[in-house]
């Protein structure tokens, strides 16, 4: 399947005079793992918010799994799994109750125990989430995203709060899901992991997509050298953009 699972055209979100996402054209296709990178505040979560219909675009268009995020929310969310950023779990509920809620709402047939085992929470299924560490919360949130074998996984900063074991678990699950046929769209500012996971990356800076391609392509483009780390590529691209922005402002 190579149809676009996420497609944006001129997507823009303004909050008052602040532009969070600026004229974004982005396409994620159906069999890829797409890393959406950028510094904090670049507009990654706002973009994901528009994909999920948490927030509404000021201008432009976004299509998710061929539908409109607002009008077709039910159908889209049936086929998609989301791990949001800056969330809170449902206080007073156990891990299993969280999963049952998602499974029942999606009318899926997953077994909560299997999902918990996949994310390494086998021993905590009847524990209320109020006692969870940040890493355990993140694992549970990932398990909730996996319910119903979604065609598209949207993971907003999936490595947040995870120890190295957790980071590896996320990476393995992303690959497993992709092998199963799911597209994965994830945002991150933790760059070290990106090269190990992504087929393609897009770099967002001040709300604009400043580079897109495989990590190798970006390396070539920036001329930082073939053995440069992705951090160096990233810094080079965002610096270059900042300099261009500066010149543009001075020129006015």
């Amino acid at each position: 399947m190579t149809d676009a699972v996420i497609e944006t055209e001129g997507l823009t979100k303004r909050y008052g005079s602040t532009v969070a996402v600026d004229d974004l054209d982005l396409t994620v296709i159906g069999d890829e793992i797409y890393g959406f990178l950028g510094p904090n505040g670049a507009g990654k979560s706002t973009t994901i918010g528009m994909v999920m219909d948490y927030v509404r675009p000021t201008a432009g268009r976004v299509r998710v799994l061929g539908g409109d995020p607002r009008a077709d929310a039910v159908e889209i969310h049936d086929r998609l799994g989301i791990l949001p950023d800056r969330y809170d779990l449902y206080d007073g509920h156990t891990a299993r109750q969280h999963l049952d809620f998602v499974i029942d709402t999606k009318r899926a047939s997953d077994a909560p125990e299997q999902l918990l085992a996949r994310v390494g929470l086998d021993d905590s299924s009847d524990q209320a989430v109020d006692t969870f560490s940040q890493g355990m919360e993140q694992r549970l949130a990932l398990a909730m995203a996996l319910v119903g074998d979604p065609e598209l996984l949207v993971l907003d900063e999936p490595f947040t709060g995870l120890d190295p074991h957790g980071v590896r678990t996320v990476r393995e699950i992303v690959h497993e899901e992709n092998d199963r046929g799911a597209a994965v769209f994830f945002s991150s500012h933790v760059l070290g992991q990106v090269e190990l996971v992504c087929d393609r990356v897009g770099i967002l800076h001040h709300g604009r997509l400043v580079a897109q391609g495989t990590v190798d392509e970006l390396r070539e483009r920036t001329g930082v050298g073939a053995d440069a780390s992705i951090e160096e590529v990233f810094v080079s691209i965002t610096d270059e953009t900042a300099a261009t922005d500066g010149r543009a402002t001075e020129g006015r």
Partner: protein, 296 residues
């Protein structure tokens, strides 16, 4: 229904909170208020009247307090991102929350009413189960109305403190506590006639105004079930007002209007329509506001 798992989750959230059980315990002494006038008017059925007293003042306050955080709390904490990431429309989220919270409150509150029934049985002997059941059902409908109002407010604001202020200052105080005074003032201002509530004029609009708030409509319908008289006040005040030589500030249709001269819109069944309107209209408004714009 797509929203039934959400309703189950919401019911569990309320039913496992300390607040609802504190409310359930307090409702028993709050409702149990034996009175001579009540015994004279209702006999052993005064037990059903206790349920109405439990439903006056404390119950609305408790229900509003247990519901105002529902949507806005999840929104500010971020758990709404999970709920809205599921195959649910924003309207589904409102509906599931209202139904779930209502059920979660109705269960423990019904236990309080059963305890009141037990106390009444010991104190006053066997009562007629039908009016008792009737008042319980009307009270549970009233719980649903109050939940619907509070959840609607919760969905229309962006901060928890705004929701608390709005539910207390714009719903509880004017529409539950001070309504009869406000209604009199509004009527006087609109018609230019001063109203002495102890000797009210036989004015249909004045009486209607007094029963347009959720609490007034609840009293009209539950008084109807109890058979004490047609009024937006508590059953015991109504019974006092209808005694010869006694005058209260309660507006009771039978005490003011000549038989046969009562406007049709003052019939008790209209109280049910008023309650249903309070159930549906705020929720409709909240649906419009909540479905529009950004929520995270």
């Amino acid at each position: 229904m797509r929203w039934s798992p959400l309703a189950r989750k919401e019911a569990r959230t309320v039913a496992t909170s300390k607040g609802i059980w504190l409310l359930a315990v307090l409702l028993v002494p709050w409702g149990y208020r034996p009175s001579y006038v009540g015994w004279d008017g209702l006999g052993a059925n005064i037990t059903a009247g206790y349920v109405q007293l439990a439903g006056t003042g404390l119950l609305p306050l408790g229900v509003l307090l247990l519901s105002y955080q529902s949507i806005v709390g999840e929104r500010t904490a971020g758990s709404l991102k999970f709920t809205l990431g599921l195959p649910l429309t924003r309207a589904d989220v409102l509906l599931g929350t209202v139904v779930g919270r209502t059920v979660g409150i109705a269960g423990p509150v019904t236990l309080s009413f059963l305890v009141l029934a037990g106390i009444g049985l010991l104190d006053h002997g066997a009562f007629d189960p039908l009016p008792f059941l009737g008042v319980v059902l009307v009270t549970l409908l009233y719980v649903g109305v109050l939940v619907s109002i509070a959840v609607s407010v919760s969905a229309m604001v962006e901060r928890t403190v705004t929701a608390a202020g709005a539910v207390f200052g714009l719903v509880f105080l004017p529409f539950i506590v001070f309504w009869s005074r406000l209604a009199t003032v509004v009527f006087s201002a609109a018609t230019g006639t001063a109203v002495n509530p102890f000797e009210p004029p036989a004015s249909g609009p004045l009486f209607l105004l007094h029963r347009l708030n959720p609490g007034g409509a609840y009293h009209v319908v539950s008084n109807w079930v109890l058979g004490v008289g047609n009024s937006a006040n508590t059953y015991s005040t109504v019974l006092s007002e209808l005694q010869p030589q006694v005058s209260t500030n309660a507006l009771v249709v039978e005490a003011t209007f000549q038989p046969g001269a009562v406007p049709g819109y003052l019939h008790e069944s209209v109280g049910l329509l008023v309650l249903l309107a309070w159930l549906v209209v705020p929720l409709g408004l909240a649906r419009l506001v909540f479905s529009r714009g950004d929520v995270a």
